[in-house]
């Protein structure tokens, strides 16, 4: 009897499938959902920016829904690395220029004919050009700065030079004086990121070596035993040994380091990309910087005999690319274009207070943080930019060594200069 019911059951299931199939097909044809994956879920201004662009695309394309899935960076990258090789994944997704493996693996498509490049700064576009083709739309640009507490510096009786830049000896002295006053000199932690601990040593290496040798260093063509590198490491070791970093440096997370700097317990300085604003310029009850916090911006210190003391790291950060496996290439491009209009560029600066690769004609800054943005622009005068950060320049074993040694072990006071040189050379230097 059981055998008897199998035929009607199968027939019913088959019938249901036949009836439902065209319905499903029609739903897909009429209502397209554009899938986008984005990092920076914890930055409300950026979330609002990208959601606005999504709604604008929906208005311009009836029947289209843009669904942005918000991630933290590492889980998003892990999900992408599983989805893309299987020919799956979102139509468009967040990516940074350092992740060139997505391009070499063929998982993202060239955008030269899909994007209105008149709206994008040429220097920002250049970062995404590989083999003559452009693969990403740059959105966020940033420079590495040292944020500091103006009042605290004044209380220590220290005056910042007009150039906004201490010499290496002055900087070491600032660290010692701050420590002696019972304050943490530099609020920094490496609890959840593979790069913040290397801000001081990285920028010092850039200034000492100049952009060409700096690039050679992190691409395996210059030894870490180079005397100039050793000098920088020795100076950094002095800064570390003077008690520059918090005792909980190893476990302090990026978001926590912001809070540590401007609120509790408070620190004099916070070296950070200028995307600092994404976390700091949110309401206080959401962990933002107090409204009356005396925020200042200084340059990283000048190195003795530095080849390029006016150099500073600039990098394109948040960008968007299109999945090579997407069935909605034009719609994905429409979303990328919607985020890159001059109006959106203006909105980016006025709400996120951060540089951008989108052309935006903003001459007068307005809003509660206008003074900050003016000071940030002041710090860019005469600067020579090196585009790219060490964590993006390195790959494989060298990338891991950078995270463990220059980002964590060395600034954490666990390694001598010789040990750091030896470990970095072993993993990075190709001879």
């Amino acid at each position: 009897m059981l055998r008897g019911i199998s035929l009607p059951l199968c027939a019913a299931a088959l019938g249901l499938a036949v009836v439902a199939a065209p319905l499903g097909g029609r739903a897909q044809a009429d209502d397209v959902t554009l899938e986008v994956w984005s990092h920076e879920a914890d930055q409300p201004a950026k979330v609002a920016f990208r959601e606005l662009a999504a709604r604008n695309v929906e208005k311009a394309h009836p029947g289209v829904k843009v669904k942005i899935t918000w991630y933290e960076k590492n889980p998003m990258l892990a999900a992408l690395k599983s989805a893309l090789p299987a020919g799956k994944g979102p139509d468009a997704f967040y990516l940074e220029p350092g992740f060139v493996e997505y391009i070499t693996a063929g998982y993202v498509i060239p955008l030269d004919d899909l994007i209105d490049w008149n709206n994008i700064e040429p220097w920002a576009r250049k970062v995404w050009i590989h083999g003559g083709k452009t693969y990403g739309v740059p959105q966020e640009a940033y420079t590495n700065e040292i944020y500091y507490d103006k009042d605290a510096l004044k209380k220590l009786g220290i005056e910042l030079p007009a150039s906004g830049q201490f010499t290496q000896a002055q900087f070491l002295d600032v660290v010692k004086k701050t420590k002696a006053a019972g304050m943490t000199p530099i609020a920094q932690g490496v609890g959840d990121r593979p790069f913040p601990g290397a801000y001081v040593v990285g920028e010092a290496l850039l200034r000492k070596l100049g952009p060409d040798d700096y690039l050679r260093l992190f691409t395996g063509k210059l030894s870490f035993a180079d005397p100039r590198v050793a000098e920088v490491l020795k100076w950094t070791k002095e800064v570390v040994d003077a008690g520059a970093y918090p005792k909980n440096f190893m476990t302090l997370k990026l978001g926590e380091s912001h809070y540590y700097f401007y609120l509790k317990p408070g620190a004099l300085m916070l070296p950070m990309g200028s995307w600092y604003t994404g976390r700091a310029f949110v309401p206080e009850d959401k962990g933002g910087q107090p409204a009356n916090f005396p925020l200042g911006v200084m340059q990283f210190p000048a190195m003795d005999g530095g080849a390029c003391n006016e150099c500073k790291t600039s990098a394109v950060g948040a960008s968007f690319v299109i999945n090579a496996a997407t069935k909605h290439k034009d719609l994905a491009a429409a979303f990328l274009n919607a985020m890159s209009t001059p109006e959106m560029g203006k909105m980016w600066i006025e709400t996120i207070y951060l540089q951008t690769g989108i052309k935006a004609d903003v001459k007068n800054f307005s809003g509660p943080h206008a003074a900050y943005f003016t000071e940030l622009m002041e710090r860019q005068k005469g600067a020579k930019y090196f585009i790219g950060a060490p964590q993006d320049l390195t790959t494989g074993e060298c990338k891991d060594a950078f995270a463990q040694v220059l980002n964590s072990g060395f600034p954490g006071g666990l390694l001598s200069v010789d040990q750091a040189v030896q470990m970095m050379n072993k993993s990075c230097y190709k001879g």
Binding site: S6, K247, N248
Partner: protein, 314 residues
């Protein structure tokens, strides 16, 4: 009774009366298919694919190149980080397994002996088992924090301020600190299993021992532990497997640092697969396969060594 329900009752009644073994293969497959498909897609295929990948290098543009045992050779003879991870995992596994199992036994004995507030203690000791690794990791990162952590605060309070340190920030203490958190989480599980086993012990044997004036220590070593042997072996094996694959807690608390001092084989596999700016899943798959074989071998050895040759009768 409606016609439909009558028909259904007829079908079910007749079906129950039918010998399922007499059902046709097609019918059996139809009912098994969803579960089989699910199992094949989410268990069998990933395992087979991992074995396949381990003998290949996956190049850009999805080019797959057969490399034979090349990946395994590199792992065994040219990868010091792998061996560092093996050393950490081995230390973690041996120490944490022993403390987990025998610590759990001690707690169970404490409750079995009806210690004061045994009911409350049982709840307190078991609660960490119910927490996810993420929660446990976050709690213990805070406990170990140098500035505002409980560990240093207690040391300071009892006058041992000189021993305050960054527990997760130094290579000499980081692995032990993570181990402490892991043991805290799992001790209660072993305790509950042992407690159930203790209550299942035959009362007449224990009673006879008491009549013979057998002391607590003698009773423990000559009666209780031998009778708990099967439970101990099972918990040792389960705990061993879990710790050889430890990932979540390490990843949340230290990410393998500082200076690879808490790197385990699982965190290393993850880093090689997803953190190294490469899509090559061949090498990390080879590590995973190698580790699978090692775990399997150890389990076989442990089971053989610890199995009971003469069955206890009680």
């Amino acid at each position: 009774m409606s016609g439909l329900s009558r028909r259904l009752r007829g079908i079910l009644g007749n079906a129950a009366a039918t010998d399922a073994r007499a059902a046709s293969l097609g019918l059996l497959l139809m009912f098994l298919a969803p579960a089989l498909l699910f199992y094949a897609g989410f268990a069998v295929y990933p395992v087979l694919r991992t074995f396949y990948n381990s003998f290949h290098a996956i190049r850009p543009q999805g080019v797959v190149e057969f490399v034979g045992i090349g990946n395994f050779r590199s792992i065994l003879f040219a990868d010091p980080t792998f061996w560092k991870a093996v050393g950490n995992t081995a230390l973690f596994t041996v120490i944490a397994t022993l403390v987990d199992v025998f610590g759990g036994l001690l707690l169970a004995l404490c409750l079995f002996a009806r210690a004061p507030s045994a009911g409350l203690l049982r709840v307190i000791w078991f609660t960490p088992v119910l927490m996810s690794y993420v929660v446990v990791g976050v709690i213990w990162v805070w406990i170990y924090d140098y500035d505002w952590g409980l560990a240093n605060a207690i040391l300071h309070w009892i006058g041992l301020g000189a021993y305050e340190q960054s527990w997760l920030g130094h290579p000499s203490t980081a692995l032990w600190s993570v181990m402490g958190a892991h043991i805290w989480k799992w001790l209660g599980f072993n305790m509950i299993v042992f407690l159930a086993a203790l209550y299942a012990l035959p009362g007449e044997v224990l009673g006879a021992a008491e009549l013979d004036n057998c002391g607590w220590v003698a009773k423990l070593f000559y009666i209780i532990i031998p009778m708990l042997r099967a439970t101990i072996v099972n918990l040792l094996v389960l705990s061993f497997i879990g710790k050889m694959m430890v990932f979540d807690l390490v990843w949340i608390m230290t990410g393998g640092g500082p200076l690879w001092s808490t790197e385990t084989v699982s965190t290393y596999v993850y880093k090689r697969a997803f953190d190294w700016n490469t899509f090559d899943l061949g090498y990390p798959s080879a590590i995973a396969v190698l580790w699978f074989v090692i775990i399997l071998a150890f389990i076989a050895i442990m089971t053989r060594l610890l199995r009971q040759r003469d069955r206890l009768e009680f």
